[in-house]
């Protein structure tokens, strides 16, 4: 099974090249001295320095970060609540319809989501700005959170909540002290998912952003239309770095949890 055949090696190389070659090129060229993106003129960190002077990019980054934090937090709260109700409420008329409707935005084309939100905001006279982007991102990322959390809740042993109630906890306490700590990993991954979705959303943000609230993806996209500058490469490299660190941290954290659990189990057997 474990033989390292030629076929395996080739498909592995091709697969990874396909995935990472574009990014590698981007990272390499972000350290290019030359202003021309396609001509290599020696190593330099000059574009990173210029990036830090570029207020437009920094503003956009700040907007993006705030939008991502607020919308993912809001989406996590709402998505967890929705998942909890749908998994727990048992059968009520229209349950299938409701759970179907929660997941519909997953398959809805983003353009349509963005357009309908735009129409809504105009309709109710809400000025487009950070608030509208936050609301829009919450709307579409909430169903992702809900999917992640409800798949955890389905396998959650109901009798734990019953035991908490039996021991005198109010339903809210039972949720806060028993359910939530146990499903916390799913809630956290839901939050991370919502955060990254918000971070790199271009379509919905461009429908719902206003002149004073450009997000980074919008900024990059519009800048690229005027020609790829080495600054964009530098910015993208930073983004790749952030995402990489985030992913590695998340996997380390969960791996540590597994290792600690194993160690505790071993300790239990030794005594």
């Amino acid at each position: 099974m474990n033989r390292f055949s030629w076929f395996n090696a080739t498909s592995l190389t091709l697969g990874f090249a396909f995935l990472y070659l574009p990014m590698v090129i981007l990272v390499i060229y972000s350290f290019n001295e030359s202003k021309l993106v396609t001509v290599w003129a020696g190593f330099s960190t000059r574009w990173y320095g210029e990036l830090l002077q570029n207020d437009a990019f920094l503003d956009a980054a700040w907007v993006t970060l705030r939008v991502a934090v607020f919308s993912s937090t809001l989406a996590t709260v709402l998505g967890t609540m929705a998942a909890y109700v749908l998994v727990r409420a048992g059968r009520f008329p229209g349950r299938t319809l409701f759970s179907g409707m929660i997941y519909a935005p997953l398959v809805m084309p983003e353009v349509i989501t963005g357009l309908s939100l735009l129409l809504l905001f105009i309709g109710i006279g809400l000025d487009r700005g950070i608030l509208t982007i936050v609301l829009a991102h919450t709307t579409f990322s909430m169903c992702y959170v809900s999917v992640v959390v409800s798949s955890r809740l389905v396998s959650f042993d109901r009798s734990l909540e019953e035991a908490a109630l039996d021991l005198g906890a109010t339903p809210f306490d039972a949720f806060r002290l028993v359910t939530l700590p146990i499903i916390a990993p799913a809630v956290i991954s839901g939050w991370l998912l919502a955060f990254t979705l918000s971070l790199d959303d271009l379509v919905i943000a461009s429908f719902t952003s206003g002149p004073s609230s450009t997000t980074l993806p919008i900024k990059i996209f519009s800048a690229v239309r005027l020609g790829v500058s080495p600054e964009i490469n530098a910015l993208s490299t930073i983004l790749i770095g952030i995402v990489t660190i985030g992913v590695i941290t998340a996997s380390l954290v969960s791996k540590r949890a597994v290792i600690r659990r194993q160690r505790e189990e071993q300790a239990a057997f030794q005594t």
Partner: protein, 384 residues
Amino acid sequence: MAQATKPQRAKAEAFAPWQDASTRPLIEFRGVTKRFGTFTAIDDISLDIYAKEFFALLGPSGCGKTTLMRMLGGFETPTEGTILLDGQDVAGVPPNRRATNMMFQSYALFPHLDIAENIAFGLRRAKIPKDQIAARVDEMLKLVQLTPYRSRKPHQVSGGQRQRVALARALARAPKLLLLDEPLGALDKKLRQETQFELMDIQEKTGTTFVIVTHDQEEAMTVASRVAVMDHGKLVQVATPDAIYETPNSTYVADFIGDVNIIEGAATPLGEGRYEIHWAEGATPLIGTTDEALATGAKVYLAIRPEKVAISTENPESRANAVPGTVHDIAYLGNISTYHVELANGAIVKAQTANTHRIARRDITWDDPVWLSWTDTAGVVLTR
């Protein structure tokens, strides 16, 4: 727990509130039915359980024991009928407002809390001062012999230890009514007996009412003030352990509790509750007694416990019932031996004798012709 004292049976015998019409029951089931969809899990049960009782529910898997408990705990609502707790209808009272604690069959320990925190959970909810909680947790840990494991998580202890944590957690709040769903199933015999006595001790001290589900007939006999035998959501018999054992009301109960021989036949009244039972063509009829008035030719079952059947090589003329047979099998269990004797009609009847002699001196062995005998009152005549 170290000094597992013998239970005081004498006291328990005097305790019989169910015979006293003036006592108000702690729990009243009035025509309770529970259906899951079209499946009837509990079928029109009416039952009174009195304060300070140790009430045991017995029955095969799936007969509705857990469902009955869950209705008391507030996790299921009856489809029909009412449940009164202390005279109050409990319908609509949520579990956290009921003066009951339940030990779940699956234990339902909180995996993210350590064992001491699991036990403290209920106490914390009751807004008890911190130092009192700590003292109570220590007391409970000592009771279930888990003090060295107090800061382990539930997944770091053995199955039997988990069961004890669940028991301690349910006991900690010292509720008025304790529902224990197979509380001792995973414990070894010695620890189980110690814990049984401990439970009885707790009950004596605190006056808690226990409703306990068990599969272990011996356990029910040891601890229970009364036993309810269930079958398919119905109560078959509710009585004291000795009444259940000595005078079961049906072959189902007789068969469920302990070992029993059942001989089918047709009754002929002899007067004064004595009946002749014609059980095989050409065989001498057997004699049994019952309080029920039976018509001639009524189909009956003579239920007789193996330990009440004597086995001998000669025909014991003095006994009311004697049947010949051949030894089919012998089960040697150390203190007792069970002889499986095949009768002329092919039926197997078990006879049990205490091994007062060393095994080498046993005078009955395989394929020997033997006589089985018992008195006229040893067996019960049942109609179903």
